[in-house]
Symmetry: C2
Subunit: 146 residues, 2 copies
Amino acid sequence: MNLNKSRNFSKLELGNLENIGKHSFGIPVMPKPLEGKKFLKEDLALTSMEVSINKMEPGTGMPFYHQHTENEELYIFIKGQGEFQIDDETFPVREGTAIRIAPNGVRIWRNNSTEALYYIVIQAKAESIGGSAIVDGKMVKKEVSW
Amino acid sequence: MNLNKSRNFSKLELGNLENIGKHSFGIPVMPKPLEGKKFLKEDLALTSMEVSINKMEPGTGMPFYHQHTENEELYIFIKGQGEFQIDDETFPVREGTAIRIAPNGVRIWRNNSTEALYYIVIQAKAESIGGSAIVDGKMVKKEVSW
C-alpha cells in the first residue's frame, strides 16, 4: 500500500489476480468462496465506493442470498464462467458480463464451471451521481511530459 | 443489453475483453487510445457511478492530462503493464495495481509495453459513501435454490 493523505492519490499492488485468494477477509467463519475476496476501500481510503476483487474457485458458490440497504452494486466478470441469480431470474455470466443490481435485488452467484471465476464488485450509494461522468472530467491543457 | 426498469437489475454482455476495442466512443475526433473504452452507466442505467472497461494498445497513451470536478476515480489494472503519472509522480502499473485519485489529481497514463493493457475505471461522487460497505449488505435468510 502507498497511502499518503497529503497526496491526491493512493495505490495498492495486489499482484497477479490468480493469487488473489491470499487476500481473504481473514475471518475464520467466512465461507470458502469468500476467501478470494479483497476489499479496497479501507486500504485506499476510498470515499465514494467499496470495491472488491474476487476469485471464486470452481465448484463453489455464495452460501447465502443478500440485498443492500442504500448501495447499488455493479458486478463485472473479467475471466471464467458461472451463474447468477437475482430475485426470480437465473442466467449465465462470463468474461464481459456486467450487471447492475438495485439495493432491493436478492442476489447469489456460483462458479459451476471447471476454471476459476474472476470478477470485480463495486458498490456506491444509489442515486448519488448525476448527469454524465464525462462532463465531470476536465481536460488540463498542458503539454504531456513523460 | 437487458434493461427492464421494472426489475431490480440490468445487464450487458461485452464479450471477450480482447474485443473491447470495438466499443468505442464512436466520436471520430477522439484519439486512438480511447477507442477501446466502453462506458457502462447509460447502458445499465447506473445511478451511483460511471464505469468504463478499457483496452489500451501497445505504444499508445492518453493525449492529455485530466482532473475531475466532484468525482473520485479508481483505476484497476487487470492485465498487461504500463505507466501512470499523477501530479509530479510517475510509477509503473500492471495487473493487480489499484489507484484511487482525488478529484484534483492531474492524471495521465500510457501503455509503454508490447502487449495490450486492460483496466477498469470507476468514478463516483467523492465523500458520498460512509462507514463499511459490508454493513450495507443484508444477508437474506432463505435456503439457497439453484
